[in-house]
Amino acid sequence: MLNLVGLILLFPIIGTAINGLFGKRLKKETVGYVACGSIGLSFFISVLVFCGLLLLPPDARLFEKQLFSWIESGSFKAAAGLQVDPLSSLMILVVTGVGFLIHIYSVGYMHNDKGYHRYFCYLNLFTFSMLLLVLSNNFLLMFIGWEAVGLCSYLLIGFWFEKKSASDAAKKAFIVNRVGDFGFALGIMLIFLTFHSIDFTEVFNAASHGNFGVGSFTVTVITLLLFMGATGKSAQIPLYTWLPDAMEGPTPVSALIHAATMVTAGVYMIARCNVLYTMSPFTMTVVASIGAVTALFAASIGLVQNDIKRVLAYSTISQLGYMFLACGVGAFTAGIFHLMTHAFFKALLFLGSGSVIHALSGEQDMRKMGGLKHHIPITYKTFLIGTVAIAGLPPFAGFFSKDEILLESLVRGNFIYWLIAAIAAFFTAFYMFRLLFMTFHGESRVDHHVAEHIHESPRNMTIPLMILAGLSFVGGFLGIPGASAINNFLAPVFGGHPHTEISGTESIGHHSEGHPYLMMVISTAIAVAGISLAYRMYVKKPEMPGRLAERFHLIYKLLLNKYYVDEIYDVLFVKPTKIISIQLWKRVDALMIDGSVNGIARLVGWFGNIFRHLQTGYIRNYAFYIVAGCIFIIVLTVFGK
């Protein structure tokens, strides 16, 4: 069954090809069937592969399949090879599963769009790239997937290219990601230089059995460079700015790419390279700190945003911060677990918000919503489940995963991590319920002519919502403390090497059995506090937020303008680059280089101007010169020696 792994990649690319080449001539239904069918088949194969992997004994759960040799140059060898292990099999399930649901949702959501076939072509291509990313067995192939998902993200963010903001956002996403990829590419090169291979298995073997101590400088540099790539793709500080803008794309895209799958690639990559990361405590500290800070930072911005999708975008950044925090403290399983549950509930939330937007004919501003819960009940109910899940109330999925991260950050990390994470969790609960209340509760603030058209979404949109809601509800049980299925499943990837445990800290986790339950209570309390505050502010006293905003005017403005980070980047990087480039062109190129070339030409002309006076036009003068020259040459040849 594992041999079928190639098919997982094949179906989406066939879908891409069919929709891309012939989509224009096909009927809309056919396009939809092709797109969903290809992903559905892919999902089916993924399940088969997953089962195949489960049948193997835990230690033997690693399957590699070489397709062909891709780039070979001297000792540099990059194969097109696939790898199935617990980690990647989990990822393909998430990608194809959530992807499949979102494809079905999109059939309804995009129904009236002119670029229908183009949309599905891109979406299939994205699925292919994402699967390539998680299935590859070497860094370079992973890099292909890595950049290809970036490309799809570019194409899909800029899907409505007529809007300048959309194309701007697309460009920004690609370029910011490129900055991260710069680090990733350098990291791959350094890996090749250090280990003479870029194959995962070989590199990790060499790393764990080679003469690299914990804290080796090379490994630290490698991991930092790779992490730079991860910050770009997973929207962490300092490269997170593209993600909120990426909401310009169609909502299902935001759900699939910018919430559930692509943005988690960074987490996946770090988890994949856990061998390297655990060898470098310094990098781990960096990863954890950036994760924690991002979680808090993005959550604080999310508190005051009014665009429903932007709130979710900042929430995504914040949740990704959690995952990095988990990885940074060495709790890779917790990170991946959260990745999975997050994929469920964030996809649900985005699709739910898409359904809201759909109902309101494209309105995204929450200040113009309100009281929608009776008009679109299915959306409301599923959205509620998602909100509760992300806020972290038991027994929903988010509770378990987030709780595990909080626990691990305290146990393996330190109190500060925990504190930051806890505050961020509080914020999360607050802004998510703020969103819920503003959108579905209270009085309707919807425009009149929009209000007439409010309608529940068609079934092909609500069914995915319900399935995802179900998953958000049960997904957490995979990781119940004590009997964690996911922990055991992933153990071969994260456990089977000597360096995993950072000295000493692990033991604490095992010793204090009382911790998890205390932690659960605390985190539930935090969530409840956040929810009740939101309830007070947005349901009980709707005028309160306005007063608060006035009172803390500066802070409010700072948060509303996202700490002015975009503007700072603009001043620091974008503008200087533009100015430099224009100056280089006008000054250096036109004035200096061309100037000096033309100067030489003019010098020649000047000499010519002088010597042309020798050309009198009188033949006798020329004859005179000839004779003089002859004499000179004769003298030279005869007496020169």
């Binding site: 062909f68 040799s69 891709w70 780039i71 070979e72 140059s73 001297g74 000792s75 540099f76 370079l140 890099f143 292909i144 890595w146 950049e147 290809a148 800029g158 290219f161 007529e162 809007k163 300048k164 959309a166 194309s167 697309a170 460009k171 690609f174 370029i175 490129r178 900055v179 990829d181 710069f182 590419a185 350098l186 090169m189 350094l190 090749f192 230089l193 250090t194 280990f195 003479h196 060499a206 003469n211 690299f212 080796s216 400088f217 090379t218 630290t220 680059t577 533009k578 430099i580 480039s581 224009i582 280089l584 062109w585 006008k586 190129d589 200096m592 280089i593 061309d594 070339v597 030409a601």
Partner: protein, 527 residues
């Protein structure tokens, strides 16, 4: 080898010229078709080179050697190896496409097509000749039709551009001629035989001082041709003024002669001098990469933008070649082909836009995707290939180059990698301004999407773009033997130097105050 295949490739265009000469100049369609057919025939004749090429031998293959001017030791000596193979194929591939792309030319069609075919002879000749004298003849021969193409069929400032192009190139090649003659006499001094045979010169043992000056002379000729910053200013002018086909050939093939020259002549002839010049050239290449990228960001003319991006791309090629290891050089050669394909395609696309709108200013476009979606798709693919998106051709070359550069000097590679970021910035920005957004100009609302002829031009390029991106090995394998041999000629120093450099002075890393970089010892001596 009974069929003189290289001679056929080189001189069939000239035979085509005679055909065209005998056609009445009013029958333009017939002239175009004849020229196209001739170039296609040449392309098909060149295909056996690829299939019959023995990739296990580094020796010159398909060799033809005839006496030409025996009293001076000049031979008609042709042959190819894995380095020149792809450049020849690129030439024979690009020429029919660019003839097809000049279908709209109505002024002096006969002369135009003759110039194109003569140009093809010159270009192929440069890549196949192994006799330096012959090489120089072809090198100069190819200048003239290009000069005419720019000067007669070019834009408003064509004369300025043509003269600039010609004088720049001549200035370099004169020094090269001088160096060739010097080599001729050096060879006579050591062997007592007058010859221009390149392979004989490879065996010469030249003192370092002589190498230094000879290298410098060759360097100047090739650096202008490449062009490396600061010898590049002829390029934007020439590109902007040249007709589409001229730009395509200029970018696709002519620039490669510079880089090819480095690989074929500079490195094996003057190994020690080349080593001495590594830092200088690498820095020039890096400056070129970044400078070219920055300047192209500031352009408002599409052709100029692409022209400056060439400067940046060729900086990569130079960096790869002067990494002195197999990845770098193979990457460099791959990148030459890639650049020929993707930049050539970009010029074709800009030309197609120009045919429709008679402007190249970015500001005059905007929102075209809505009007011409298929065209936009091609443009997108080519843009992405130029950016170096993995899975397309550009990535393979750039990545190998960077791996090579990384192996020899980490700092160089790190700096050069920033060029990849900048490439994304200027290309995507350009693409956005041209293709995305609302249509702001009325004229753009009536644009026609790609027609059959244009499709036939672009489709093969895009196919190759994917082929190289997905299965580059079919190309890399053929270079292996030659590149390995070249490196052996140049001496094993490169690898040693790079390793020593990492062990002894990792200052850029150690500067942070951390222990030295550690490396798993390689068990085999590999490149």
């Amino acid at each position: 080898m009974s069929v003189p295949i290289l001679t056929l490739i080189t001189f069939i265009p000239i035979i085509g010229v005679f055909f065209i000469l005998s056609i009445d100049s009013k029958r333009q369609e017939l002239i175009r078709v004849t020229a196209l057919l001739v170039s296609i025939v040449v392309f098909f004749i060149s295909l056996p080179l690829f299939f019959n090429f023995d990739s296990h031998v580094y020796d010159m293959q398909f060799v033809e050697k005839l006496r030409w001017i025996p009293s001076f030791g000049i031979y008609y000596y042709l042959g190819i190896d894995g380095i020149s193979l792809f450049l020849i194929l690129l030439t024979t591939f690009i020429t029919p496409l660019s003839i097809l792309a000049s279908w709209h030319i109505t002024k002096n069609v006969k002369e135009y097509m003759i110039a194109m075919l003569v140009l093809e002879t010159g270009m192929v000749g440069v890549f196949v000749s192994l006799d330096l004298f012959l090489f120089y003849v072809f090198w100069e021969l190819m200048l003239i039709p290009m000069y005419l193409l720019i000067g007669i069929w070019g834009g408003p400032r064509r004369i300025y551009a043509a003269v600039k192009f010609f004088i720049y190139t001549m200035a370099g090649s004169v020094f090269m001629l001088l160096a060739i003659i010097a080599l001729y006499f050096l060879n006579y001094k050591s062997t007592g035989e007058y010859t221009f045979n390149l392979l004989e010169y490879y065996r010469l043992d030249i003192s370092f001082a002589a190498q230094f000056w000879l290298f410098l002379a060759f360097f100047l000729a090739f650096a202008i041709k490449v062009p490396m910053v600061p010898f590049h200013t002829w390029l934007p002018d020439a590109h902007v003024e040249a007709p589409t086909a001229g730009s395509v050939i200029l970018a696709g093939v002519l620039l490669k002669m510079g880089t090819y020259g480095f690989v074929r002549f500079c490195l094996p002839l003057f190994p020690e001098a080349s080593h001495a010049f590594i830092p200088v050239i690498s820095w020039m290449a890096i400056v070129g990469i970044i400078y070219g990228a920055l300047v192209s960001m500031a352009q408002d003319d599409l052709k100029k933008l692409v022209a400056y991006s060439s400067v940046s791309h060729l900086g990569f090629v130079m960096l790869g070649i002067f990494a002195f290891n197999i990845q770098g050089i193979e990457g460099g050669i791959t990148q030459m082909i890639n650049h020929g394909l993707s930049t050539g395609a970009l010029f074709l696309i800009v030309g197609m836009l120009y045919e429709r709108r008679h402007t190249r200013m970015i500001a005059d476009f905007g929102g075209l995707t809505k009007q011409i979606p298929v065209f936009a798709t091609f443009f997108m693919i080519v843009t992405l290939s130029s950016i170096g998106l993995p899975g397309l051709n550009g990535f393979v070359g750039e990545f190998l180059i960077l791996v090579g550069a990384f192996k020899s000097r980490i700092l160089y590679a790190s700096l050069a990698t920033t060029g990849i970021i900048l490439a994304a910035v200027y290309m995507l920005w350009m693409f956005q301004r041209v293709m995305f957004g609302e249509i702001t100009h009325e004229e753009n609302k009536t644009l026609k999407d790609i027609n059959k002829r244009e499709f036939v031009i672009l489709a093969p390029i895009v196919l190759l773009v994917f082929w190289i991106g997905i299965y580059p090995n079919s190309f890399l394998r053929k270079m292996d033997a030659s590149v390995n041999h070249l490196l052996k000629q140049v001496g094993d120093k490169a690898n040693i130097v790079s390793n020593i450099q990492i062990h002894n002075k990792p200052e850029q890393l150690q500067g942070i105050g951390v222990p030295k970089i550690d490396i798993v010892p390689e068990n085999k001596t590999e490149w």
